[in-house]
């Protein structure tokens, strides 16, 4: 007897922040109901092939995953061209990104195959966005920050698009947080990760941090020289166990 495995993966248009129509990539397992959802937050290089691979990986593991294209508003155009335009403009405003994440989460939550629980995972700049979403987007059930930089920032680094330091939002964190970091990373460096942990402990937030030796920034990215297979395999196990606990088996985070 064989086990059936099927997946639907497609681009779609969704209403994001302020009702703006943006692109998104959705992947979900076929033949399943009561499926938990995950919003995948792409990194600054853009809505790239790897971000879509991550979205499909989550579907392979039984999650409906959606990756909204945070740079859609610079389009229409190819994702790499829009990423260049976004970079030149200083990136999208945090408030807009939070609106897009909230809309993507609601899209997942309201599907007939959904179990109603939704988490987020973000990488690099998306890790920072995941941290902020855990504090600012209502109704999330779990958040995963993979090496998000600029969670700890100096006041002079704040600007109109990024007006508030994510670490200053920690008291408002409303769901469990998983953090994955490389000890050779320079942003966040280990001292910054210590500082984030200190803040999470101060406010009694529910979190798990895993910090890997022999890894720097972006060590899950199979298409970059930063890829560290041993650490990445372990890290993905931690991510999937975390989502399993808070999105599928019904465990509730105590931070809420």
């Amino acid at each position: 007897m064989y086990t059936y495995e099927g997946m639907l993966a497609e681009t779609l248009t969704m209403a994001g922040h302020n009702g703006d129509l943006i692109e998104a990539y959705l992947a979900r397992p076929l033949g399943m109901i009561q499926v938990p959802g995950v919003v995948v937050i792409h990194h600054m290089p853009g809505w790239d092939e790897w971000s879509k691979e991550v979205t499909r990986k989550l579907a392979y593991h039984g999650y409906a995953a959606i990756c909204p294209h945070l740079f859609s508003r610079w389009g229409p155009g190819r994702w790499d061209d829009l990423a260049a335009a976004a970079r030149a403009a200083g990136g999208p405003p945090d408030a807009q990104v939070m609106g897009d994440i909230a809309a993507a989460a609601q899209l997942l939550r309201t599907q007939p195959w959904a179990n109603g629980k939704v988490g987020v995972i973000g990488f690099c700049s998306g890790g920072r966005h995941a941290y902020i979403a855990a504090c600012r987007v209502p109704g999330l059930d779990a958040a995963v920050d993979c090496w998000g930089g600029r969670v700890v920032v100096r006041p002079e680094e704040l600007n109109e698009r990024q007006p508030e330091a994510p670490i200053a939002m920690t008291k408002d964190m409303a769901c469990p947080l998983l953090g994955i970091f490389g000890n050779e990373d320079t942003n966040p460096d280990p001292a910054q990760v210590d500082r984030i942990e200190e803040e999470l402990r101060k406010y009694g937030k529910q979190y798990e941090f895993y910090r890997y030796d022999g890894a720097g920034h972006g060590f899950f990215a199979v298409d970059r020289p930063s890829y560290r297979p041993q650490q990445a395999v372990d890290g993905w196990q931690k991510v999937l166990a975390f989502f399993e606990r808070y999105l599928r088996t019904g465990a509730a985070g105590s931070s809420r």
Binding site: G77, R78, D81, L82, A84, R87, A88, C124, N187
Partner: protein, 96 residues
Amino acid sequence: MCTMICKTAAVQGQGKGQAGWIALTHVHVAYDHPVQAPFEHALMLDFVNEAAGPEARLVVELSPEAARALLRTIEEVLVAAEAQSSVGAPAGAGER
């Protein structure tokens, strides 16, 4: 890390990309994660025509060593050209 280091200069010139020749208005110079080059970070030169949409661009992603070599070579060529009195004062260029 995403460095978010990006500066822009106005330029005059033409460049040839996927859509043929375009008039260039600006160059974005960034040091951040590249899209294609096999480096963790790259020096990216993104020549654009801002009025023609996001796809009107020519991009290169260089290692820092290659970028410095390019910088030296451009300077050497301009010095050689100046020696032949064929290069005037820069016009219409400036950082923003």
